[in-house]
């Protein structure tokens, strides 16, 4: 019996094993996740979200029923409880502009030097890779009265409100 015949087989097996193990180790290492496209997706989502707020803010009353200032002014000061929203107009306008995207909206403002952050639209807990965009509006007693909101501002008062939107893809 010639045993020489098994020799190269073993070496071939060893080489094959080595290459396979290398590939496995490389593919298991965390650095090989591909953040490239995921980040591009995030940039895209952030851009779309901030566009949506910008568009609602810049549109005048001929183009949209209520612009961002009017929507915020019309708030009745009640925080939203899931799944109801307390700023329905803004909710409708946003969902028209952002199909397939979920969002939560908070209003942040200073009242008597104290920071208030109130949830007004809740669509659930933010998913993975959510992004936050914000836009500022200034409301006065006049805009609140026109929109019928409950802000109760003084005649000579102006209040800056941050509209903070967290968006994520479903």
């Amino acid at each position: 019996m010639n045993e020489k015949g098994q020799l190269h087989t073993l070496e071939g097996l060893a080489a094959a094993l080595m290459i396979t193990m290398t590939v496995l180790v490389i593919s298991q290492s965390t650095m090989m996740v591909t953040p490239q496209n995921e980040l591009a997706v995030n940039v895209h989502l952030e851009q779309l979200s901030s566009d949506a707020l910008a568009v609602i803010d810049t549109a005048d009353s001929g183009s949209v029923e209520h612009d961002l200032t009017e929507c915020v002014s019309s708030w009745n000061m009640m925080e939203a409880t899931y799944p109801a929203s307390s700023l329905c107009d803004l909710d409708d306008e946003l969902s028209y502009l952002l199909p397939g995207v979920l969002y939560n909206i908070e209003l942040a403002y200073f009242k008597d030097q104290n920071l208030n952050v109130k949830k007004v639209i809740i669509n659930g807990p933010p998913g993975e890779n959510s992004v936050v965009v914000r836009r500022f509006v200034t409301i006065t007693n006049e805009t609140v009265n026109d929109a019928g909101g409950g802000w109760n501002l003084k005649e000579d008062e102006l209040r800056v409100v941050e509209v903070r939107m967290t968006t994520w893809k479903v």
Partner: protein, 318 residues
């Protein structure tokens, strides 16, 4: 079995084939692992992002030895940058509004020479000193359909191939779409307590929209009766369409209304061919107009551009 030399080839064959199988398995895996990190595609992403940003947020710029400004649509031979954002005062700084798209700029954008377009927007890649133009498609869509401005479908570039990696960025924009006049409550002038009246001086390139808000309801079952142009009744949908504005949506309007409705009358521009003053009467029942008199508000004095939301999509591929 005295001659054993033939067996050597068999074990060698087995060994080498094992290596080859492992190698081909590796090769199959490896390209899949590395593609998304490759430099070519990421630069596509940036090209798409940059192109969309410039078009939506910038007004563009023209410049020659004696002048410059943002109204490049009237100086296309001295074009430096392409941008579509509206600028009310082309001479002064920082009067542009991002996301608002100008109709005139769109018009010129569609007429631009292909090579200038690729050059100015940087839709090419430099490989070893030679230039390769990217494939691209720039379109403005609404509800999935490409929109028309001045009877031209707003799309540039070629059809998007479906067998290639494509970098795609969409932006939400407001696109100019005719003009509108907003009349609220007591600012509505009227020829009688049930007729809102507006004077209009033609001609117009696009349909006009009269928007009524905060109507003063004075009875049960308030409703719209009819609209007339210099006494002649206008018919739907040939002469005009009526809709309620709900958010961004145009909901159908049946005739009956309530006080919070925003009612829009979109009237065909061909009715105002002459450069003379026309008079529109909008008659309602159970709605009272308080501002009754003989002088009426003029549409041309209070109208502003009407914008509607749309998506500007830039797609780029190798």
């Amino acid at each position: 079995m005295k001659d054993e030399s033939g067996q050597i080839a068999v074990d060698f064959l087995l060994g080498i084939s094992l290596v080859l199988i492992a190698l081909s398995f590796t090769m199959q895996f490896v390209p899949g692992l590395f593609t998304s990190g490759s430099a070519g595609e990421s630069s596509l992403d940036y090209t798409a992002y940059r192109t969309a940003t410039i078009l939506v947020e910038d007004t563009g710029w023209w410049e020659h030895s004696t002048g410059n400004g943002t109204d490049w649509e009237t100086h296309t031979s001295d074009l430096m940058r392409i941008g579509l954002a509206v600028d009310d005062e082309p001479g002064t700084r920082l009067t542009n509004v991002p996301n608002l798209i100008s109709k005139d700029k769109i018009g010129q954008f569609m007429l631009l020479d292909e090579s200038i377009m690729v050059e100015v927007l940087g839709l090419y890649n430099n490989v070893d000193g030679s230039r390769f133009a990217y494939g691209y498609n720039i379109s403005i869509t609404k509800k999935g359909a490409i929109i028309n401005v001045n009877n031209t479908a707003i799309t540039r570039g070629t059809t998007v191939p479906d067998d290639q990696e494509i970098a795609k960025i969409s932006r939400i924009v407001l696109i100019e779409h005719g003009t509108t006049a907003v009349l609220k409550g007591d600012s509505i002038t009227s020829s009688s307590s049930s007729k809102a009246t507006v004077n209009i001086t033609g001609p117009f390139e696009e349909n006009i929209t009269i928007q009524l808000q905060n109507l003063n309801i004075s009875g049960v079952g308030p409703a719209f009766v009819n609209a007339s142009l210099d006494g002649a009744i206008l018919t739907q949908p040939a002469d005009m369409t009526i809709y309620r504005l709900e958010g961004w949506d145009h909901s159908p309007f049946s005739g009956s209304l309530n006080g919070t409705d925003v009612i829009c009358f979109n009237i065909d521009n061909s009715l105002f061919n002459m450069g003379t003053e026309y008079r529109i009467d909008l008659e309602f029942s159970n709605v009272t107009f308080n501002n009754t008199g003989t002088s009426f508000v003029n549409y041309n004095n209070i109208s502003s551009p009407l914008y509607e939301p749309a998506y500007l999509t830039v797609e780029v591929w190798q």
